[in-house]
Symmetry: C3
Subunit: 348 residues, 3 copies
């Protein structure tokens, strides 16, 4: 990469303060940037790196105090988005894999689309239907009748069980499992568990992305569904018959129990846990480690375990931290009341 | 599938209200059921789907108000169990794999039982003893001297380290790891960690089921043991030297630290965390996200982090939510006492 | 193994009380030890096993009451460390793998050091540089330009994405993923997420150990870094651009969100969750299930979610458990004040 700062500013639609002709040969985080690199400042907590950064240029907000003269600025409303725009402009997502490797096994009754790449030791079982421009990396395993839509990417060591269906532009990162058996048992009078056949499937709609080491269980009956555009981070647990709406987010190590339904544009942050058989509506944000035992229909932010609306949660947490003071005040009241009683008795 | 409703009622031991001769061709969840399908109603929170379901028949409790005439009913004490019974009757658990694939590697000093199926690229190392009617799916790896009992199923991309032993009817879902090193180090005077050899093994007894992406560490010395009939869900962490009793449950994303012993018929629900070197007795239920730092010997339900008996936990949580009111009452008391003091002074 | 007790005592630098000539043929946990085995007692909670242990010899602290005469003692300051020393003396860590298997794929433009072992179906892509005495177990996949230092061990089914770099003596346990895409998206005005290319890498420095089923995401730009000597347990999530210092510990199921920096000698215990873009200093211990939303610069122990210094956390927890009592005291105060008001009115 070798561009003038002017070109970068044009791409993000920002104004230059400083030298528009300097050369940029890389993008970098502010604390790591070197000369000839372009960085950005977005969160206030990173302002401390500004005085020392070796970057030649920096994207800043309009109101940022531009106190250094040895650095050039691109001024933009949202430096974070501007930086992403540049990354997107110069770095296409391009996972390298081409051709169908001779060590891959493709069942004669599987269908593979045009320009699809299949890596080493991949197993594609009978009845699989793989679209065009798909990439399936080494050692991934697809059991019978799996469907994968066009332009999807399945990384190495991914396991996809029989009958599961993926739409177009789906990405599944390494070592994730789609369609493992749901956790369903009958218990007998001796408290012995008997496995209930899990005869359902998993459906991942278009544009879904699944992180690494994720488990999405097949439905006991019917389908576990992740709807269009929803993104799931690493080490997430999705139990049987869960339905997640469109354009939602499930961050790292969050878990959703069986048959729970989650709405559209709803975000589960890290390590959130949701009970089974409940419903979380649209536009709900569940903050990290929140524990949800009951349905939530009202949009908004929720925090704590058990979770509360965030305003209430913060208020309660503040009261909690004040408990020693409150107890002290109770003690003082008790002493004052005792004294008052004594005085009153004396005065009578 | 194509049965008369009468046949279904006979299997579950329920009574028909409506037309016993209608044809059922599938089972489905109430919110997804179509004509000619049989569904069930168990949890009250699903009653809302009753008015709209397209199912031709439904299993309900005796006291359920059967207000629709265009649907036939099977009346049963426990519709949930009845439905499972039907699933179990018509759908045997049958993971499709047969033969020993030529791409699998089986060490000449490994023993393989009758009718055992081994998938593509499987690695079975020296000294392994695999029983009869076992299925080991593609790309699974078994290191030296691993034992697998009859009728067990090991899914794709599972890793089993050397010397670990599985009983009969064990199921290990995709991408799980049995026998990775325990997390054990000595620390020196410079705070540098030195790895302690983990020379123990893992034993999974008969009828144990392990979900996908689970880690069960080998013992530092001796054995990490999961006893007969215990079921473990996805993404669970079992540290070295843990012993879990019989017919227990460990739900998704729960974790048990080193050397802790867990009793029989004890259930760890989702995201529970248990400290090391403690004991959890029989018949204990740890509710989701519970954090356990001390041994629990008394059977019962526990909730919270740190965990308390559930009645106490709920009472404390109710008080917690009332904190703003209590603080208000303290303020009022303070004002009243001040006023009383003033009046008493005046009166003296 | 077959040694005299005297030899064991010499190795750990302890004194024998009892018969120095007895033969030891194995080491074992106190609750499992058999005759001719040596065990140890360190935690008080295990003292209950002392009366019954079948061990022939036991390592104990100087002040331990040596009430049994049918057992020989090694007296040592730290029986735990002494036992580890013995394990380390007699059991070298030795993962068995040798040679380069013919089923492994090694790209002609990859470089492999001396005495390096590569298992079955391993994929080593173009540009990889693998050191000497390295072991890469079956079905592991290394994409383009991955670097692995001398003496490192990569277990089966591990996935390492392109460009990631590992130092010397690194261990990565089974089914872990190094370098999966960071969880980074732009959101548009329709609340649709657009993936930001994750163009950074992962660097694991010398002596780092990574458990099984761990996810370490590649940086959005720059590098996600785990520094020298840090040990990571199973099922841990390390998000993009995280930096973890030297000789730190991250226990099972803990998670660190994007761009957070963690210091040296800092320990995250089980299921800890840390927010993004914050800093945790050196010598900080985060207790199990702690939730960290803000930077922590002060060394010490922290507990709770949101986390507090442990002394304060325990004090607050004690107050929390006393809430019913406090509420009772408020009620009594209210009654007393009411009574005082009435009496005062009467007396006026």
């Amino acid at each position: 990469m070798n561009i003038k700062l002017e070109e970068a500013a044009k791409i993000v639609g920002g104004n230059i303060v400083g030298d528009k002709n300097i050369t940029i040969n890389a993008f970098a985080k502010i604390e790591e940037a070197q000369p000839c690199e372009l960085t950005f400042l977005y969160l206030d907590s990173y302002n401390k790196y500004f005085a020392e950064t070796k970057a030649s240029a920096i994207i800043v907000k309009p109101d940022f105090p531009r106190t250094r003269n040895d650095i050039s600025y691109i001024v933009a409303e949202n430096p974070n988005k501007a930086f992403s725009k540049l990354i997107n402009h110069f770095f296409r997502i391009d996972y390298k894999l081409s051709g169908i490797d001779s060590s891959a096994y493709i069942h004669p009754e599987a269908a593979i689309g045009k320009n699809t790449a299949i890596g080493k030791n991949v197993v594609i079982s009978a009845g699989c239907r793989i679209g065009s421009n798909v990439k399936i990396f080494h050692n991934a395993v697809l059991l019978e009748n799996v469907q994968v839509g066009d332009n999807s990417v399945i990384f190495q060591n991914v396991s996809i069980r029989e009958e599961c269906r993926m739409g177009r532009n789906v990405i599944i990162h390494a070592n994730s499992v789609i369609g493992s058996d749901g956790f369903g048992y009958d218990i007998d009078e001796n408290k012995v568990f008997h496995k209930i056949p899990q005869i359902g499937i998993v459906i991942l709609e278009d544009d879904v992305e699944i992180g690494s080491n994720v488990s999405v269980d097949r439905a006991s009956i019917g389908a576990t569904i992740i709807k269009k555009g929803t993104k799931i981070d690493n080490l997430v647990q999705i139990a049987h018959n869960v339905v997640v709406g469109e354009n939602s987010i499930i961050a790292g190590q969050a878990g959703v129990s069986g048959s729970t339904k989650i709405g559209n544009n709803t975000y589960l942050l890290g390590q959130v846990g949701i009970a089974g058989h409940i419903e979380i509506g649209d536009n709900v944000i569940l903050h990290p480690q929140a524990g949800i035992g009951k349905s939530i229909t009202k949009p908004g932010n929720y925090f704590g375990s058990p979770a509360k609306e965030i305003k209430e949660a913060f208020k309660l947490e503040a009261h909690y931290r004040n408990l020693p003071e409150y107890v002290e005040r109770i003690k003082q009241l008790e002493q004052q009341v005792k004294k008052l009683q004594a005085e009153l008795e004396k005065s009578q």
